[in-house]
């Protein structure tokens, strides 16, 4: 197994009116999850279509599971699992039939396909519903069946295109659990697209944000958060008593910002800064209601990164280099 499950370089794709991708690079390390984030129309789907051999790029190249998506599409297909937003589960087949048929399409023997279908139905909590038509399944059950179907031949690389869009919170949590198990138990490499930042926080080792057909940033979720702002220590006082705030300001130094009963101070050392502030609070401890370290959220990072409009010549916005490997 190569060190990189997916490596795409300089992918460009234009459709009649739009330039969907303007040269993106992305990498999924073997055995890890990459979340590909972007707003609707940013180019996520086009990138996934190219990597799953559905669309041919105008320029650039991509290696998936060790094979070139353009020259060796057939071999790539034998090594990837794809699950998406579409109704890829056949509603007119039972859960078990769906899995066995897809297994046969991956050229498992009938025995292997049946054995594997049984295991996956069990693993995804669908064993009781295995003999029912998928038409009778709930949304969450269908997604899990779909994920099971794409795992039938234990592909080394999986594409999950918005795997939990439209699911209720409980189904979403079950789906996340299923994805985590898949990664830890089988060492599968995953490219995940999502509209939910929490999903990326929960599942992804790395994040690539694309905006307007270009990579706006890539790195770990933490690197991304930190690229748009630093952590703060936030001290909340019991009362909006200006004398307490004044004393606190004196203890923390001129960098502290006072806003009513809330005092904030930059925390360049993260938890170290927090410990430092807590130590200094001793003299007025009785007047403090709460002390916490506040990190910027991925949500904020995403909002900032995807509101930057790349200039027409394709120059990347400032944050492009965050955490670049």
């Amino acid at each position: 197994m190569p060190e990189e499950a997916i490596r795409a370089e300089g992918l460009v794709k234009s459709f009649k009116k739009t330039r969907a991708l303007r040269g993106i690079d992305l990498t999924v390390r073997t055995g890890t999850v990459l979340a590909l984030l972007g707003r609707n129309g940013a180019g996520k789907s086009t990138a996934v279509r190219i990597l799953t051999t559905l669309t041919r790029p105008d320029a650039g190249s991509a290696i998936v599971a060790g094979f070139d998506v353009i020259r060796s599409a057939e071999r790539v297909r034998a090594r990837i699992g794809v699950t998406g937003q579409g109704p890829t589960v056949d509603e007119l087949l039972t859960g078990r039939q769906n899995l066995v048929i897809i297994g046969r399409m991956f050229h498992l023997s009938p025995q292997q396909a049946r054995l594997r279908a049984g295991q996956l139905l069990e693993q995804f909590g669908l064993a009781d519903a295995a003999g029912r038509l998928a038409r009778t399944y709930s949304g969450g059950m269908r997604r899990r069946l779909d994920l099971a179907a794409s795992m039938i031949a234990a592909p080394p690389v999986m594409f999950l295109d918005e795997p939990t869009t439209g699911l209720d919170p409980v189904s979403r949590a079950q789906m996340w659990q299923a994805i985590r198990e898949m990664v830890t138990q089988s060492g599968t490499s995953v490219l995940l697209t999502s509209q939910y930042l929490e999903e990326a926080e929960q599942l992804a080792d790395d994040v690539t944000v694309i905006n307007d057909g270009l990579v706006a940033a890539s790195g770990t979720p933490r690197q991304l958060r930190e690229s748009v702002g630093q952590a703060n220590v936030r001290v909340v006082l019991r009362d909006a008593d200006s004398s307490a705030a004044g004393r606190l300001g004196a203890l923390l130094g001129p960098a502290a910002r006072i806003d009513g009963r809330v005092v904030t101070l930059a925390a360049p050392d993260g938890l170290g800064s927090l410990a430092d502030v807590v130590a200094r609070l001793h003299p007025i401890a009785a007047e403090v209601d709460d002390v916490a370290l506040q990190r910027p959220s991925l949500e904020e990072a995403f909002t900032i990164l995807t509101s930057a409009r790349p200039s027409e010549d394709g120059a990347r916005p400032e944050h492009a280099m965050a955490g670049a490997r």
Binding site: T53, E74, V82, G86, D90, L92, L93, M105, R116, P155
Partner: protein
């Protein structure tokens, strides 16, 4: 997980293995469509009742006013109806393929390591298999109303084989229409209209001799008329008059040739459209 499959993904190398694997893929996709049909009994019942309605409607309602010189009208009609049903497979495949295209099912199949022709071949072969119950009902109806395989059972069997070949070719017309239609509704309209025109401006229901001259030419050169004539020849049914048109004088050869030429052209064209990456 007790079973490790990574690495067991089988890849065929030599041409013979590839062919065997492709045939296996076709068998799998065919099975899928047959299983789907089995869970839609209402659709099957509809397709089974359709021929019964046709026999009653045309055999007795219109047929009561039609006098066929030198023959029994309902026998004449039945052989025509057997041929006409080949057109309907075209429309049902067109709608089904257009539906798969619009719902993204085709995209899912395109990411699977199956032979490029497997999905469409499975669909068209399944259409024949799923049509067998309605064929059986139709043969039963025919026997009830007095139709007999007058040229002998082997000839009749050959006749049904010939009709199946033509029906298979027509289902590929449907597949091509379905690939290009913008929606399932459009596919339905696009495929039903020609099926209607071909089906009625022909010798299915009445001998062409009585038609006005301009329409007679159209009806006689209508490819379906040759198929109908071939069916009547193989079933030993009177042709209801003769026409000096080459295709009607050699209907079996014409039908066989049309079926094979259509398949030779349509399969590669449609499969190429299916595999096109854009």
């Amino acid at each position: 997980m007790s079973l490790t499959l990574t690495g067991s993904v089988r890849e065929a190398r030599d041409p013979l293995q590839r062919l065997a694997q492709a045939l296996g893929d076709v068998r799998t996709t065919t099975l899928r469509y047959v299983l789907r049909a089995r869970s839609q009994p209402d659709v099957i019942i509809g397709s089974v009742l359709m021929p019964v309605v046709f026999v009653v409607l045309f055999g007795y309602v219109f047929g009561s006013a039609i006098h066929l010189p030198g023959g029994h009208y309902r026998t004449y009609l039945m052989s025509g109806l057997f041929a006409q049903t080949t057109l309907f497979s075209s429309s049902s495949v067109a709608v089904a393929v257009a539906t798969d295209m619009s719902e993204g099912v085709i995209d899912r199949f395109r990411t699977l390591p199956i032979a490029r022709s497997a999905v469409l071949l499975g669909r068209t072969i399944a259409t024949i298999i799923v049509g067998l119950p309605s064929l059986a009902v139709m043969i039963t109806c025919a026997l009830i109303v007095g139709w007999r395989p007058a040229a002998g059972v082997p000839n009749a069997m050959a006749g049904f084989a010939l009709l199946s070949l033509f029906g298979f070719a027509m289902s590929w017309v449907g597949a091509l229409v379905g690939m290009h239609a913008r929606s399932p509704q459009a596919a339905d309209g696009l495929s039903m209209l020609p099926a209607f025109v071909l089906g009625f401006v022909s010798n299915v229901f009445v001998p062409t001799a009585g038609l006005p001259a301009w329409l007679r030419v159209v009806a006689q050169w209508n490819p379906l008329s040759a198929v109908v004539a071939a069916a009547r020849q193989m079933f030993g049914t009177p042709q209801g008059g003769s026409a000096h048109v080459w295709t009607l004088e050699h209907p079996v050869v014409t039908t066989l040739a049309m079926g094979l030429v259509l398949l030779a052209v349509l399969i590669p064209v449609t499969v190429r459209r299916y595999t096109r990456r854009d």
